[in-house]
Symmetry: C2
Subunit: 653 residues, 2 copies
């Protein structure tokens, strides 16, 4: 290890970070300056990677959980030779179009492994990546050839460790004995509000030991110690490791270091000049020649390592053609189409239970589909036959017991999905999407096709009462950009919904499923399995122009069909709108084939009216715009006036 | 302590719970049967309470954090003599209108201290109650007379302890040294999915010690031990205490106890009969005569204690008339109106900073207003001058450093508010309402007027990028029933918004505030300070009927005014709709005075279009229906076409 060179790398990180933030007049210098040494040794000595091929599947993963310290990541990617970040990009830090966005954004530049900024989630993403690594290793490695063998590293600050989501994920990581997960804690004792001891005096080391982690301590500014502690972390194969590195926020800025003032604001001209003098550098966007020389030399070593892996991979492919075939399928990003179960018109089955049968078929065809529930395996109906449980003893299992940790579950699912090679699903009650919402938003922002299986989807769940009855939830999910919400009306639609979710490659899908039984209904559109891909189709068609079009979703499609029977004098067309936002994105001519222009529309959904105003007049929207009540589902519905009779009366108005 | 009687109380809890759940054919017998002994000793021996006056301010608080065990609470309220729960109510468990709802619901019956069911939040509510107690004690007690001196107890299961929100709140509770908080952990090693060790093997005792808690262990079925451990918890005045009680889920059901099957489903006729035989009881809804006799005797003791407190309270009132006056004001539930700061037309000030000045004035007038931010005191602009910090050393302080724990903060705020005597506010970035959403929903469901100060309200925040730019958030909050969202357009409106939030008594208010400066604009409606209480008013009025009404909110009101200047050929009326849902709830005649029927409407809000369809045609809605970008705020807005010119072009169409 060339300590002198690493010191110069760290110096360069400080210089680039200070200047980029000053130029943008916005950003967080505290972390990149305080943890520059860790960046240097990670990208120089610790990470198995190859800047020439950032997509190398067996690279180590690095998650900057403290995403506000993005200049550390950008500096290291640039300095270590990734072509995805240029000096010009760094000079355009926080400008539109620059890959150097305010917080690291997945997809903006190769080498950014996940989007961070919303605190706590990065650690959970890392847990997911470590799970994915262990799953793929168990599936593909042969002992003779270990084609999957990499570590997941993360860097966290105080903020991430105060967030509940990191606690959930860390407790599970300890339980799962993820020995190849190594988290560095940049412990600088400063947050935005001041010293951490104004609100955070717990013994974090002891807490992580309680989770079943190995906890090590050292200094951010001792390369040899970091190297030694990292080796110690790797040597402990039965536990994840937290390495607590005492550090000084904003190190190098003579007056502002070790103060909250340097956390999230540019140094200012005066302090910037003082810092440069203090660091012994001059000019703007300084990078040390020794840094460039050091990394230039490293490229060869990395290339050689990568080539050796490639050679092993080819040998493995030759000896294990079936595994290789599976590998290619896993990494193609394309779902294998499955023979879906058939349901019969008239059959009564809850869409959650239909989903369970469909999931079984899809999981059999797609052996890279993994997932689980937040302690609701039975109620969510997400058991996968013969897939086995993922445990410390059995890494080939595909079912994950997440425990009662919804947010951790979703953020871990993002990590599994983004690792590559696997498809992730997760499950809880629809009402508890509120608990995991911040992670779902990141699935959407990162274009990750995680499947969210959300059951117990309305007031019809009954007795559990308003705390468990979703009202605003379907709408609240529809409005997150790039989230696809599908609320199928019966078992057959559920099979199509799962298929659409699996086919999706650029964002998450939320499957909204019923607890109660629903009757499979006849569908007048013979091509409905295709038409539903527009978001809606005609279930019950009228001869000629209808008097009224009833748009319903989920369990309310049955209710609409029942109501239509009660108004024999009217020509009522019933539309199942499994995905409102998808249908609204269709061109007008397609929309008109399903909801003809100029015809009166009545909508029916057991949730908030908001958004239905596009389709119907306020009086023609049948909705639930209040909290529910505890009671048997049908009685709650009747109590709230949410019945076929009510709908028939609206149609008749 | 009459152990024989307590055993009979526990027996009665088991009997009532089994039968109520069987009759409802729905519910969770596992906890009430497993923890019946704790219920008995709590309501019989531990709690300072008076069933004849459940609203007694100095009662001990008890939070059933594991809300699915609601039959434990209902049984104990009934058995111990609360008139709010009758045997008939218990027989109507989980039926519409019964106070015995599926999960405990605040307001349904006196004695239910908070709504629980969504796991983890009850512990955080209890932390808030303990904070409130310590604040009120510091303010009102004189040493000679301690009119505030009670404990907060909570009962948690495995589920609550796995949730991140309980981790956040517990870490803060340890930091704050809340010595009068005592949490019992019903440790039965079973969750819905099976044995807890499938996902939860951490050392919870050690984790709580790491938080700075005292941790004690015992058996659920040893009354003397529970009494001794509780005394030990009280003796430790510098730390909250976790008492881990090993228990057997569903104890008493001979075949189903200690299995996941009894967690959340009725016993079924056969097991119910076997359980009754096993427990030596017969008949339905059995209660032991010894239980009735025991509690009949207790009433006198409780009445005496309560009367002694009342006497002390009167003596204190006489000696401290000023304190008593403040006490009455605190407990009236009515906000004191404050002399609000004046802002000048043309003044440029961010609404977050205007909010800061208004908060100072309101907090000076309302000395019971307490709150803080999740580590964003400066950015959220919520410092309260001269209010002091709430710390272990200074319980009179009113500013709370919540740390980076948004969800914990909001759930704690619910606890502070629901305790009585105080008004709570909390603050973070608007985008992170996603992190605290489940607690906000409970503020709304419980009708608690917590004030949420949410700043950095749109893409205009700029450089921090899409992870920090709210898009769907304003709408996602509007659709939660009983949440009032106010997005003021300038400093003057901000003052009114705060006033409206403080005047509200029956639900939470979210103040949506800008990071960027906004110019205070002239208002054509001379009575706008009253009119805005309808949710909207006319900022710029036209002579005669307008050609176009532009509805805007928040920072977009300025943009609308600028756009109106750019279309001299049109009569453009500009409406500031600070609260869409409030305005939509007005009768038609009021709505028409502001948005005349039949006039074309254009809407402008830097967020999702959803919901604006009620007011305008799709092409007339100026919205942001995608994730934002990292860049300077004005450039991001221009990049997304969100400018006065765009709006002018829409108006001109």
């Amino acid at each position: 290890m060339n300590i002198k060179a690493l010191e110069k790398v760290a110096l360069s990180v400080r210089a680039l970070s200070m200047d980029a933030i000053e130029k943008a007049n916005s950003g967080h210098p505290g972390l990149p300056m305080g943890a520059a040494e860790l960046g240097a040794i990670l990208y120089g000595e610790i990470l198995k990677h190859d800047p020439a091929d950032p997509a190398w599947t067996d690279r180590d993963r690095f998650v900057l959980s403290a995403g506000h310290g993005s200049m550390l990541l950008y500096s290291m990617l640039y300095l270590s030779g990734y072509k995805s970040i240029t000096l010009d990009d760094i000079k355009n830090f926080r400008q539109i179009g620059s890959p150097c966005a305010g917080h690291p954004e997945y997809g903006m530049a190769a080498g950014i492994e996940t989007t961070t900024g919303p605190l706590g989630q990065g650690i959970a993403n890392a847990v997911g990546m470590a799970i994915a690594e262990s799953m793929l290793a168990a599936r593909f490695n042969t002992g003779k050839h270990n084609v999957v063998d990499h570590y997941t590293y993360a860097l966290t600050g105080d903020g991430c460790l105060q967030e509940g989501v990191s606690a959930e994920a860390s407790s599970l990581a300890g339980h799962l004995k993820l020995g190849k997960l190594i988290v560095y804690y940049d412990s600088n004792s400063i947050t935005i509000d001041g010293r951490t001891d104004i609100s955070f005096t717990e013994d974090t080391a002891k807490r992580y030991e309680a989770y079943g982690w190995q906890v090590l301590k050292g200094s951010m500014y001792d390369f040899e110690e970091i190297q030694r502690l990292t080796a110690q972390a790797k040597a402990e194969t039965g536990k994840p490791t937290l390495i607590i590195l005492k550090s000084i926020i904003g190190k190098g800025a003579p007056h502002k270091q070790d103060t909250a003032g340097i956390h999230g604001a540019p140094l200012g001209a005066e302090e910037l000049a003082a810092a440069k003098a203090n660091l012994g550098i001059s000019g703007d966007f300084y990078t040390a020649p020794e840094s460039a020389a050091y990394f230039a030399e490293k490229q060869g070593e990395w290339k050689k390592n990568h080539a050796a892996w490639q050679e092993m991979f080819e040998a493995w492919s030759k000896e294990n053609p079936d595994k290789r075939k599976e590998w290619d399928s896993f990494h193609s990003g394309t779902a294998v189409s499955a023979a879906l179960p058939e349901f019969k018109t008239g059959e009564k089955i809850a869409t959650r239970n239909a989903s369970n049968k469909v999931l079984a078929a899809i999981a059999a065809a797609n052996t890279n589909l993994v997932g689980g529930s937040a302690d609701l395996k039975g109620p969510n109906a997400v058991a996968i036959p013969e897939a086995g449980d993922y445990t410390p003893e059995s890494r080939t299992g595909r079912y994950l017991y997440y425990g009662i940790r919804e947010f951790g579950m979703a953020a871990i699912s993002n990590g599994i999905q983004i690792h590559g090679g696997l498809r992730a699903f997760c499950a809880t009650f629809l009402v508890f999407t509120d608990y995991l919402r911040p992670a779902l938003r990141l699935s959407a922002l990162m274009n990750q096709p995680v499947v969210y299986v959300m059951t117990h989807d309305s007031i019809f769940i009954g007795e559990d009462g308003p705390t468990h009855q979703p009202v605003e939830h379907v709408t609240s999910l529809r409005i997150i950009p790039n989230v696809r919400v599908l609320r199928p009306g019966d078992a057959e639609e559920t099979a199509q919904a799962w298929t659409m979710a699996m086919e999706r490659r650029d964002g998450p899908t939320v499957l909204v499923l019923s607890r109660q039984n629903l009757t499979v209904f006849a569908k007048d559109d013979p091509d409905w399995k295709n038409t539903i891909r527009t978001g809606a189709y005609i279930v019950k068609k009228t001869e000629g122009t209808p008097d009224v079009v009833v748009i319903a979703t989920g369990s309310e499609v049955s209710l609409a069909l029942a109501a239509a029977e009660k108004v024999p004098g009217k020509k009522v067309q019933v539309v199942s709108m499994a995905s409102r936002e998808l249908f609204e994105s269709q061109p007008e001519n397609i929309r008109n084939t399903i909801v003809p222009a100029g015809v009166r529309v009545v909508t029916c959904e057991a949730g908030t009216k908001t958004g239905w105003e596009r389709w119907a007049k306020p009086g023609d929207i049948m909705a639930v715009d209040r909290f529910g009540e505890s009671g048997p589902g049908d009685k709650v519905a009747a109590h709230l006036g949410f019945t076929a009779d009510t709908l028939a009366a609206i149609i008749n108005r």
